[in-house]
């Protein structure tokens, strides 16, 4: 058990689906070989298939404390890191060849469902939901690994995979109910979000948090009673874990989304939220309705000129107030290690095996 738990609250009312977090994570962590289609952070449009495709149907986690069987996602479920045929399309004359992914046309990608949503027009609805590893209090992946390669750090509760011990058996992929573990087919290791450990250790907010222009993510220790996480999760009770039924006790929490009012059959406004409550309950459990009411009450207080600590916390006028103790500036600390400075030292595999063969630029 960890002494304290670092946690995150993600505000779905502020998330704009821009994927800056995805890119910040990608450029910091998964630029290496075998990681082309790997997104430790992703933003899905919900409702939707999600990433990996239909992950919510793949099981895992616990039920009544018993580990549940899960399905291991196939590589293609995560979407491909397709390459584009730059040379043919750009430099060999106009109309020669369209710039497009090499090989078969992609049929899936991490953001394939962008803005697709659900509902019948004009009662269409959707929202954006960023996801990372939940750094669960009871990690199903850790329990499932026969090599003991997955551990939960005592000092901050971050769940890490020791690549020296990992043999790529991939039980963790099946066990994780959130399907947030990836398999690197080049190195043969399971890999996942490390909660920007080298940044966190130096008091710098995670890349996905600090680089988020929507100011969506709150950071801190769950136990820190003055921090925003504790306030939102335990005091105001508006931040909820995703799919609590899996019993892993996730440490990433979500502020559920408000939505424009719904129309009746004649198109008249009804005053009700258009996102069906049953759908939100299927994601966040039965507490989501009361949480939304508390958020609406906060807005009503503001409109009436009454104070609202909840709204002030959610707004966080000062950017750094989002990040609890992690307010150091990455430019000003001695070094910002995001890429490869982790122990044990990981050497990427020889570039030899990744070279495409002669003439292998297409198909």
């Amino acid at each position: 058990m960890s002494n304290r738990q670092v946690a995150m609250v993600i505000d779905l009312n502020k998330c704009i689906g821009c994927q800056t977090c995805t890119v910040a994570c990608k450029t910091s962590w998964t630029s290496g070989e075998g990681q082309e289609g790997m997104w430790w952070n992703q933003v899905n449009t919900a409702p939707g298939h999600g990433t990996p495709k239909d992950w919510e149907k793949m099981g895992g986690g616990f039920k009544g404390g018993e580990p549940q069987k899960g399905v291991r996602p196939a590589q293609g479920d995560f979407g491909e890191g397709f390459e584009l045929n730059y040379k043919e399309a750009l430099f060999e004359g106009a109309g020669n060849e369209a710039l497009k992914p090499i090989g078969d046309e992609p049929q899936w990608g991490t953001n394939w469902d962008e803005d697709v949503g659900a509902g019948d027009y004009p009662n269409s609805y959707f929202f954006y939901i960023p996801r990372i590893c939940n750094h669960c209090t009871k990690p199903a992946c850790m329990e499932a690994c026969p090599r003991g390669a997955i551990s939960k750090r005592e000092e901050d509760g971050i769940v890490v995979i020791d690549e020296d011990h990992c043999r790529g058996l991939r039980f963790c992929q099946s066990a994780c109910p959130y399907k947030e573990i990836y398999y690197n087919h080049v190195t043969g290791h399971a890999q996942k979000c490390v909660f920007c450990l080298p940044r966190i250790e130096q008091g710098v907010a995670t890349a996905c948090s600090r680089q988020c222009p929507g100011r969506v993510r709150f950071l801190g220790f769950l136990e820190d009673e003055d921090g925003p996480i504790h306030k939102l999760v335990n005091v105001h009770k508006v931040a909820l874990g995703l799919h609590p039924e899996y019993e892993t006790e996730p440490n990433v929490f979500y502020i559920p989304p408000l939505s424009p009012e719904k129309f009746d059959d004649d198109g008249n406004p009804t005053g009700e939220d258009r996102i069906p409550l049953e759908y939100l309950e299927s994601l966040f459990g039965p507490e989501v309705g009361p949480a939304l009411e508390r958020i609406k009450q906060g807005r009503a207080d503001k409109q009436a000129g009454r104070p609202s600590d909840l709204m002030d916390t959610l707004i966080s006028k000062n950017f750094l107030d989002l990040f609890g103790p992690f307010t150091n500036h990455p430019r000003e600390i001695e070094r910002i290690a995001t890429e490869l400075e982790r122990e044990p030292v990981i050497v990427p595999p020889s570039i030899e095996i990744a070279y495409r063969g002669p003439g292998g630029s297409s198909q």
């Binding site: 290496g32 070989e33 082309e36 570039i351 495409r356």
Partner: protein, 173 residues
């Protein structure tokens, strides 16, 4: 060959993969034909994919499904370990000629440290690892994809491959 001669040959190859007429003053004409009259055009036709359909890039990243800067970082770690820094405005670190310059340097350093067995062992290990891990795969890819008609640019990667084979044999790989 002495380390100094090997260094000169690396330098010759580096120059030959940098510009059309590079390396002609160093490399043996019996192995590598001298530049033709229209060398500049032929060089680009062979190695510059931005202007020729059939050209093969000398940048390793062009052949890899790996983020360029991730590869740059690996190469810069190599160069940095031996005290080298990229010259402002120089070629990008994954170009074949830059890799060969690095080997030109390592062999020159071997020459200067010939009396220090430990130093020579370090340099030999580095040369062998670098050639195996970084240079040979690129050279083989270039050879595999090359479609030039010009005999010089046809011969050049082949000669380099032969030289590297000799090198690895000398280095005990």
């Amino acid at each position: 060959m002495t380390p100094l001669e090997r260094s000169a040959v690396y330098g010759g190859f580096a120059a030959a993969f940098r510009t059309a007429d590079g390396g002609a003053d160093v490399l043996d004409e019996a192995v590598i034909p001298p530049p033709s009259k229209d060398a500049a055009r032929a060089f680009m036709a062979a190695f510059d994919p931005s202007i020729s359909k059939t050209a093969v890039s000398l940048h390793a990243s062009a052949h890899l499904e790996r983020d360029q800067t991730d590869l740059y970082q690996e190469l810069i770690r190599w160069y940095d370990h031996f005290g080298l820094k990229r010259r402002d405005g120089g070629e990008l670190p994954d170009h074949l000629s830059v890799m060969l310059e690095f080997l030109q340097f390592l062999t020159a350093q071997e020459n200067a440290n010939a009396a220090d067995a430990a130093a020579v062992a370090s340099l030999h290990a580095a040369q062998a690892d670098f050639v195996t891990r970084q240079v040979l795969p690129l050279v083989d890819t270039v050879i595999g994809k090359l479609e030039t008609a010009d005999p010089r640019y046809h011969a050049l990667p082949g000669a380099l491959r032969a030289f590297l084979d000799d090198e690895l044999a000398v280095l005990g790989r």
